[in-house]
Amino acid sequence: MELTSTSVREFLGKKTRADLTKVSDDDKLFSSGIIDSFVMIDLLGFLEKHTGARVAPEDLQAIDSVRSILELAASKSKR
């Protein structure tokens, strides 16, 4: 199943129990404190499950918004 902005928001919304409807695709998630490191770790598992590829430590800084999460997922899926 292809990841979308909606599916990422749904996943993060369940994990944080927060209303993410007002968060834009470019808003910072981890560095702003909207999601904590536990949710980030679950997000990595979610991404790895969908892409079938390992997320590397150097990818961490690149996934701080819904848009960057989707871009990373797309790049991992192409490999």
Binding site: F30, M40, D42, L44, Q61
Partner: protein
């Protein structure tokens, strides 16, 4: 025609399942007095504690008194008299005609309580999603700084606190579900229904105990300070009933939620809840990867070097 069924009301539920909220609502009723937790029933249950060894003889107060000429029905009646006497006097002192009793940890003593009370009270039973109960119990022991005996027994058996608390929920929930199945005077409720539609649930409760509903009851229950005592401290800080605690387990890390689901799912299904999805246990390599990524995230948060 007056209702000839038992007048005493006993609220039973696993700790953190909404029993204190129900207590406050019933206590706000003009005819019902429900004190803060008295521990009367669990104390009476301990009085009835007995051991059974291979020869089949039950060693405890019931057998001991039977040898002295007091048969079980008489002993149980005297014990009920002691318990009901305190509750009758409390209700009378409050100017009310009926009592209700609620002590959350009674659920762990339910076989003895049922033996003593079945047919003599109306039970109001409430159940809540087991993973939410485990999370809330963990918060409770964190605040109180220790484990009561009923929970400590589980901690001794399992080194993972949340898993131990999940096992505690399963056992207590099983006792409560069994009571509902056996006792025609037991009402079966869900916490999630109570916070989603309080009026509908409270109407069911009052119908069960034979009292009329009035439109101001819920507002009064939350507005009145009520008697101070043992119980869920969180409800005293609430001016409205809301469902913000429902599904709090979803914030657990996935491996933790899966571990708890393995323990709770059969009972969740028995109670009508959806089973929680169980992720495949991570391989050793995956677990090390998650751990390393978690450390890296902590470094990032602390603003430390991101370089190798």
């Amino acid at each position: 025609m007056s209702d000839s069924r038992p007048q005493g009301i006993v609220i039973i539920g696993t700790p953190r399942a909404g029993t204190t909220l129900l207590r406050r609502i019933l206590d706000a009723h003009p005819r019902i007095a429900c004190p803060p937790e008295t521990y009367l029933l669990s104390a009476a249950a301990r009085f009835l504690h007995e051991e059974r060894f291979a020869a089949g003889l039950r060693i405890g107060v019931l057998s001991g008194l039977a040898f002295a000429g007091f048969e079980e029905p008489e002993v149980l009646a005297r014990l009920r008299g002691l318990v009901f006497g305190f509750l009758d006097d409390h209700a009378r002192a409050r100017g009310k005609s009926r009592w209700a009793e609620k002590t959350a940890f009674d659920a762990f003593h339910l076989p003895a309580i049922e033996r003593m009370l079945s047919g003599h009270v109306r039970f109001v039973c409430i159940q809540r999603h087991g993973l939410d109960v485990a999370c809330s119990l963990a918060e409770l022991v964190d605040k109180t700084g220790g484990y009561v005996q009923e929970l400590h027994d589980y901690l001794r058996r399992d080194p993972e606190p949340l898993v131990a608390l999940a096992h505690a929920w399963v056992d207590a929930a099983e006792h409560v579900a069994g009571l509902v199945e056996r006792d025609p005077l037991a009402l079966d409720l869900r916490y999630e229904d109570l916070v989603r539609d309080p009026e509908a649930v409270v109407r069911r409760v009052l119908e069960h105990v034979g009292e009329p509903y009035d439109d101001t009851l819920l507002a009064r229950a939350l507005a009145e300070p009520g008697q101070l005592g043992f119980g869920d401290w969180k409800t005293y800080g609430r001016a409205a009933i809301d469902g913000s605690s429902v599904d709090r387990w979803r914030t657990l890390p996935s491996p933790t939620a899966s571990r708890l689901a393995e323990v709770c799912n059969p009972m969740l299904v028995r109670l009508g809840y959806e089973p929680v999805e169980i992720d495949q246990a991570p391989s050793d390599e995956d677990a090390r990867h998650r751990y390393a990524m978690g450390l890296r995230l902590q470094q990032m948060r602390a603003g430390k070097s991101h370089e190798q």
